[in-house]
Subunit: 442 residues, 2 copies
């Protein structure tokens, strides 16, 4: 089975655990095994959970993630190098993203036009049976005559948030209609008439979307779509394709399906009330703590509250206001304090007027880019592991306790043998992430 | 006027802002001047507030603080070197503490036995007029014939928490009786009969307590009390002296008087809802944030909640459970992450298995002890200021950007010229604050 996971934009709705460069699908929040402690290793992210669920249904599934460049490192760190990635040069809507991913499957991965693919979001919180249904969609796309096979989710209440797929049967047509976010009253009416929630899952033969791409975007060549991506029209796949299509089959899914986009929906999916260091004290009821800081959190006398802490900040919110945080988070002037990189991760641990101190962790065998800074000196204090530094072409083996100093302008990198940790002290009057020049390492 | 402030034990009731080494009276939480931002410089601690209030009433007041060794640095940092300190070698109750402080005034400061002193707690949250009343107590102790002059606070409600001073007038006696923590019903009865709250303020001539000391502790010599302090009986001044005394005058105080011992009473005294980095978002009502971390805090949809954050941890508590935190805080296994020292302060910024990284700030003209460690190497990365290091007797001028490495066993210190900041990286398999040997610096 071929499957494309749409890994959407970053966002602040799960601040402080999501930010401009870390999307919610990478937060490790779902329990993977029995544990008594809040051991971080016992949790997986949405991406990891969905990837594992796919592989459980079809170990040979060929998974491609359609996403932006900023997520590539996190994806490789979390699910390994076996996954294909269709990198979107910038953010458009879902039609360009799906067209690009489909062209990637055909042109780059060499998949035949008559092969099928299922496209689904990377972040549904679902049962195993969801992916059984995905497999049925895939098979239907190959074997059925319809151009598109959709997943219809059996509604559990008349939601005003979702899109509905309604069966239409009258003198002229017999097919499906689509409505976004109806009123509760309308939703009840639809459900009574047999409507389903639109799960945003689409299965089709490659040929179908390649043709749509040619028709609507002028080309179905991966290279052309990629190079011209910024100029493509922002349009959703639902609007551009699904709602225009009359040859549609719908398969039903009736298991758990949650859209985990805000703190209140996310905490519902948490098996443990506390992840990380946290204590629920006297008179706490439905309080969730997600703590990525190395500081204890104590909650006392609270009800229906989520407490989330990361190097970016601390959120304390009642469950029913947690979906309103965005404007307040937008107003917070905070540099990014933590990032996953292709080579490991870094965390800002101290900020002063003319200095910044960072903890850098390099995965074994990995290295930073060979680079220099114009406006700052740097000092590396190796605190763990072994590796090699290259400074202006000079190689040196390093281990815990070694110190390397680098003046502004000097080219440098570090290569980890074992897991390597550094305390990096940056000194300068104008420290900025933009001050970085990259070089090839001979 | 001579005044002794009793600066009581450290405690965890205002955790995470108070801990074993930082007592509540040093938390900067009271606004001193108009400000639009949460600028830390605009706040003063209880000690600073009380000291300023005393000096406003009597600029020449001779202030002595009776406290433990662990508070000496914080006191000097916060109120300067002008204040006398009577150091208690260990914690006993208030009678030994007051006897020692009185002996200190006489033997060390040379104050005459016929001079008077007022003893009062360091942490009442009171009006200016409280110290006017203190001055009246002082004058009454000099001029009146009574052995003891007490402050009686006019009750505003029948509290079950306080001690009461009751006028007694019958056939045999005409004087004052004392009761601790009555029931509400009894309290109402007392108040109707003219009782006052006992503010724990005592004025007397030195001679009086020196004699009591000799009588009850066997000596009134400062040197003897000091060297034998650990063996003195734990007994309160109220129980040992006040309740036995018949020659007592009581002066009334009717202004603001708050006992700020827990988060719920402390937030009542906060003028600003937010101190430090914090945002009150949608639907917050009576929410207080005290944030000593360099991280933003966002509160949403909360009522009657206090959020307090420091390098030691994060508390989120409803106002009415905030006085119950102690057992939960006791259960938290956390090393001390921040401390004020006589020479400045330090903060732990990273902890790994075999390393610890600390940010050290030295005040201008100050230095650490000359010391060594058996089991760890250290690296100093100077990030601000200028000064001089001494490593195994070798002096070196240092400035921002300089790196000094010190192997285990090597003696070292740093002397600040201007304010000096270091990132200190400690490396070793057994890092402990106990691993420290001090030396004289020639």
């Amino acid at each position: 089975m071929n499957i494309v996971l749409l890994s959407g934009g970053s966002g602040k709705r799960l601040w402080p655990l999501s930010n401009e460069i870390r999307s919610k699908q990478f937060i490790k929040i779902f329990k993977t095994k029995a544990t008594t402690s809040g051991d971080a290793e016992s949790y997986e992210s949405m991406v990891q959970r969905v990837y594992r669920q796919i592989k459980a249904v079809d170990a040979d599934a060929d998974v491609t993630i359609a996403t932006s460049k900023s997520q590539v490192s996190a994806i490789h760190n979390q699910v390994g190098l076996d996954v294909g990635i269709s990198v979107e040069p910038c953010r458009r809507d879902t039609f360009p993203a799906i067209a690009l991913a489909t062209a990637y499957l055909h042109d780059v991965k060499g998949i035949d036009k008559d092969e099928a693919v299922v496209v689904c979001p990377v972040d549904p919180y679902v049962d195993h049976s969801y992916f059984e249904c995905i497999k049925e969609l895939y098979e239907a796309a190959i074997n059925n005559t319809e151009n598109l096979v959709l997943m219809g989710i059996e509604p559990t209440y008349p939601s005003e948030k979702y899109g509905y797929i309604k069966p239409i049967q009258n003198a002229e047509v017999c097919g499906w209609g689509f409505t976004e976010k109806p009123t509760e009253e309308k939703a009840k009416e639809y459900i009574a008439a047999g409507a389903l929630w639109n799960g945003g899952v689409f299965a089709y033969k490659l040929r179908y979307v390649l043709e749509k791409s040619k028709e609507l975007l002028g080309t179905c060549s991966y290279a052309e779509l990629f190079s011209n991506y910024a100029n493509l029209k922002k349009i959703s796949f639902d609007y551009a394709v699904v709602e225009q299509e009359t040859s549609i089959a719908v398969l039903r899914y009736s298991g758990t399906w949650k859209d985990i986009g805000t703190w209140n929906t996310l905490t519902e999916a948490m098996e443990d009330e506390v992840i990380g260091r946290g204590t629920l004290g006297q008179r706490t009821d439905n309080v969730h703590i997600v703590n990525e800081l190395n500081l204890p959190i104590l909650a006392m006398g609270l009800k229906d509250v989520v407490i989330a802490a990361s190097p970016d900040g601390i959120l304390v919110s009642s469950e029913d206001t947690a979906d309103k945080i965005k404007p307040y988070v937008d107003a917070i002037d905070q540099q990014i304090m933590f990032a996953e990189k292709s080579w490991g991760s870094y965390q800002v641990i101290d900020v002063e007027k003319d200095s910044m101190t960072i903890k850098v962790t390099l995965n074994p065998g990995h290295r930073m880019n060979y680079h220099s800074h114009e406006k700052r000196d740097e000092i590396w204090n190796v605190i763990r592991g072994t590796g090699k530094t290259v400074v202006d072409g000079m190689e040196q083996s390093v281990k815990a306790g070694d110190v390397i100093t680098m003046s502004a302008g000097c080219k440098h990198t570090v290569i980890a043998e074992s897991e390597l940790q550094l305390i990096e002290v940056q000194l300068g009057t104008d420290i900025s992430v933009a001050d970085k020049k990259k070089y090839e390492l001979d």
